[in-house]
Amino acid sequence: MEKQFFFDADTPDPDRVDGRAKVTGSARYFAEYTLPDMTYGVLVTSPVTKGRIKALDTKAAEKAPGVIAVLSHLNKPSVPGYEAPPAEGRGPGMRIFYTDKIYFNGQPVALVVADSFERATYAATLVRAQYEKEEFRTDFDANLDKAVAPRAPGAAEYKRGNIDAYKNAEVQLESEYFIPTEMHNPMELHGILAHWESPEKVIMYAKTQGVKATQQTVTNLFKLQAQNVQVFSEFVGGAFGIALRTWPHEVATVMAAKMVGKPVKLVLTREQMFTMVGYRPQAKQKLGMGATKAGILTGITHEAIGQTATYDEFTEGIVNMTKFMYACPNVNTRYKVLPLDVCVPIWMRGPGEATGAFALESAMDEMAYRLGIDPVEFRIRNYAETDPQRNQPFSSKYVKEAYQMGADKIGWSKRNPVPGSMKNGDWQVGYGMSTGVFTAGRGGATVRAVISDDGMLLLQSAVSDIGPGTGTAMVKIASDLMGMPFEKIRFELGNSSLPPAPSQGGSSTLSTVGSAVNDACLALQEQLAILAGQKTFAGKTKQDIVFSNGRIGLKNEPASAIGYAELLRQNNTPAVEVTKDSRQGEAARKYSIYSFSIHFVEVNVHPATGVVKVTKIVSVGDAGTIVSAKTAASQMIGGAVGGIGMALTEEAIMDHRFGRYVNHNFADYHVPVHADVPHVESLFINKPDPIINPMGAKGMGEIALIGFSAAVANAVFHATGKRIRSLPITPDKILQTKAV
């Protein structure tokens, strides 16, 4: 049965299915679970940045009241998986408590387990370690010459046409951009609760973006049977990428639980959130751009160096967008990583693309001003109708419409384009815009659907929901297909025993799991039709059957309709169950499938104090069908808030004499507060993508952030004539930068 795009803007938008649980506190996060006989783990961390542990004295800690064990490299239980060779293209990884080696400041060196959190915290202060210090490198700027080509295949270089063609262009631009290390800092602290129910079976309550991924990692490390490793993560209090891998402290907790034979719960401190769960790596970028006087791009060279760790390689798509965003005949990119004695980074919302878009979209703005062409018009002149990187069509792209929509909404044409020309009292006013793009992916997932004779539809899949509203969107898809009200449908997730689904990351959950929900519902319809056919619809074909109002019936014959529950009861069938695996077909490979975003902002800049206020935001998403308008708008709002942080306030600052962060808390690491965020206007093209999946819906978690920081920087330039190429744009930078 071929499904047409079913989304209909007129069908009601569900409230968040878990909204009530979240605001009333009944939603349970990993740290809120307790198990009988539970114990508490607290980490002791290294104040040294590189070297080895010479001596570790745990006696005093072991004797402290309530302490059950102190785990370290001296007494750890064996972890068979630590002996396996590292995955290709990566370093050995951080095998916690494996040796006496110190790779970075803040690395865990011991784990104290006690009968209360307070006692474990106190005992952790009694562990005495002596270190043999080695010279270390943490200073990114000072070590740029030590950057190397990444081991990851294909990441280092890209070329189309001539190398560095911009150098021969009529109008040229060469600019350098910097973004600092940014911490994910979700409200919920990271950690895990682990319990070995038997020597072969472990259960975990985790903060993870992938229950299956956590299950896999622990299965491999401890050489267990996958069904004996159970991971629960029903609610996650924000992640932004921080929970995309199983971190050393999680493995340490599983080890500790094995050692003490009791459940162990470990929750990091906010300070530890800065040192052991990754971050958006700082990066230096160089953009060379060439254009004709008429504003046609002739060459772009994009070079980037991103930070990584000495013990593990991390790469991301900083230069990706440059390869295909504009119809430019000559493009080349070079990407390097700089290994330092720091914790390994991890993808953070909009990962490398957000970093790269800051450079590319700032450069586009710089070039537009240099050419004297409106920044929107400049982008349209270089609009890529087809993908210039892969030489194939885009599955769908409505970016021109999106430019128009955003420009109209913010009043772009009414601004005076001359930098520094607009005022609001003492404040300088500026408008800026930018484009964002991210791969719209679709992987494979399995969904089980069970409809029972009480009229309830249960959907199950082992996906996580880190906050975007996955359950809500899935219920909406099923509701539209089955013609059932939201409250009769339940979507169960966050449990590794459910049918497999990939980790929630890279804006692909709706596309991947939503497709499986779609396919499962269609399979269910077939089963219901067969059931109905036995008694009611003899001789009818599928095309004659409709599913609406919770009933199956014949087209144009309302009297024939029968409720699902009644149908099951008539057939003495308590429930019908189907399980469907769904994945992208081969045909989609002929298309380049991306989600796009356009950001317009207005800023006010105070020339005497250097304060920048974002006063208006219009973000337009070109992400195919919008399945759930409410949660989609929330994604755009969250992206704008994160974007304000990236543009104006966020920066993890390290003192390289010590290799330690100096602002590892919420008072000193500034995420935007409400007073920093104006009303966010989020608009959507809302036209289905014909290729990606049955819903025509593309992901949009990443695009909400990608490009945003450039729009702010561009608006600051328009307001002041000051081009600030190093984020965040703090008041001191405004005062210390000269207008051009």
Partner: protein
């Protein structure tokens, strides 16, 4: 770490409890002390809870308003006497911390809060204030938030309070109870410069309790402004702040009170700028000249040179705002 917790019910009782044990400290709102204990910066053996002392009143008698040391920051900022007589104090309080913190924080605790210098907070790093003799981590380190006035080779930390900047400008006094009775000192003499004893933030002696702050009634209501420049719109410490309080006759300044925050180990009163402004027209030129006077002797470090520009801008801007008020 175990510690004892006791509750005092009278000021005299609190003082004598404190005298009995050298490792004892008062706890008021706890918004600073508890953080410092959690981070291992301080480890008192005994906490004397003073929250039930009858020191929350705000009263007007004669030509001064008296504020109890345990009055909450939020209560002070919203009190009718404060709004009527010292709007500057209300503005400064509301520019500090967050509403939740202000609902816990007290006047005494605010005065006694420790610096937010990262090196003071991180027990792994050197800090002369936390551990005299270990060196100043900030001097060659990340010193973007640090002092440009009155620092010493031992310490370049700043006092983080907003409230105290306003109190310094308003000629307040502090009433202190010790074993031998009460004493009163000028607010501007309460906090210290670091000199050779950066471990001492102020001149409160061991065993003493702040009981009140007194502010003389003035005529600055129409022309008071608190400008706070920070890295985000709320819930951030000042990069630079300026408390400006003026009396005007027409466009002429007859009296000026100015103090700065975020620039020194204590609220930084700008007496020379005040003297300069007395009798001057409220013009941009005069504001800039006053600011230039105030900046004499300023000294920046690697990451805070922007303050040499931001501070005078802030002074001129605060004066502009204060004088343009109805």
């Amino acid at each position: 770490m175990n510690f004892e917790y006791v509750r005092a019910s009278t000021a005299a009782g609190a003082v004598s409890m404190l005298a009995k044990q050298s490792d004892a400290v008062f706890i008021a709102g706890g918004t600073n002390l508890v953080d410092l204990m959690k981070r291992g910066v301080v480890s008192p053996m005994r906490l004397i809870d003073i929250n039930t002392l009858p020191l929350k009143e705000i009263t007007l008698s004669g030509n001064k308003v008296t504020i109890g040391a345990l009055a909450l920051n939020s209560a002070v900022s919203e009190h009718p006497l404060v709004i009527k007589h010292f709007p500057l104090l209300s503005y400064a309080l509301k520019a500090g911390a967050s509403q939740q913190l202000r609902n816990m924080a007290t006047v005494g605790g605010n005065m006694m809060q420790r610096t937010r210098c990262s090196y003071f907070y991180d027990t792994v790093m050197p800090c002369n204030k936390r551990e005299p003799g270990t060196g100043c981590g900030a001097m060659q380190g990340i010193n973007r938030m640090h002092a440009i006035f009155g620092s010493s080779e031992n310490c370049i930390a700043v006092h983080p309070s907003d409230m105290c900047v306003a109190l310094a400008a308003l000629d307040a006094s502090v009433i202190i109870r010790g074993a031998k009775g009460d004493r009163k000192i000028l607010f501007t003499d309460f906090h210290r410069l670091p000199g050779n004893t950066p471990e001492k933030d102020n001149n409160l002696q061991p065993g003493e309790l702040i009981t009140h702050v007194e502010i003389p009634v003035n005529a600055f209501q129409q022309h008071a402004y608190y400008l706070k420049i920070r890295d985000r719109a709320s819930y951030a410490f000042a990069l630079v702040s300026v408390a400006a309080a003026l009396e005007m006759q027409g466009n002429k300044i007859s009296k000026a009170r100015l103090a700065m925050g975020g620039v020194a180990h204590k609220p930084w009163r700008l007496t020379e700028a005040e003297a300069f402004l007395k009798g001057k027209e409220a013009t941009e030129t005069n504001f800039k000249a006053a600011a230039a006077l105030a900046m004499q002797g300023a000294k920046a470090y690697e990451h805070n040179s922007f303050k040499l520009q931001m501070a005078p801008n802030a002074i001129a801007e605060a004066l502009k705002k204060a004088t343009s008020k109805a």
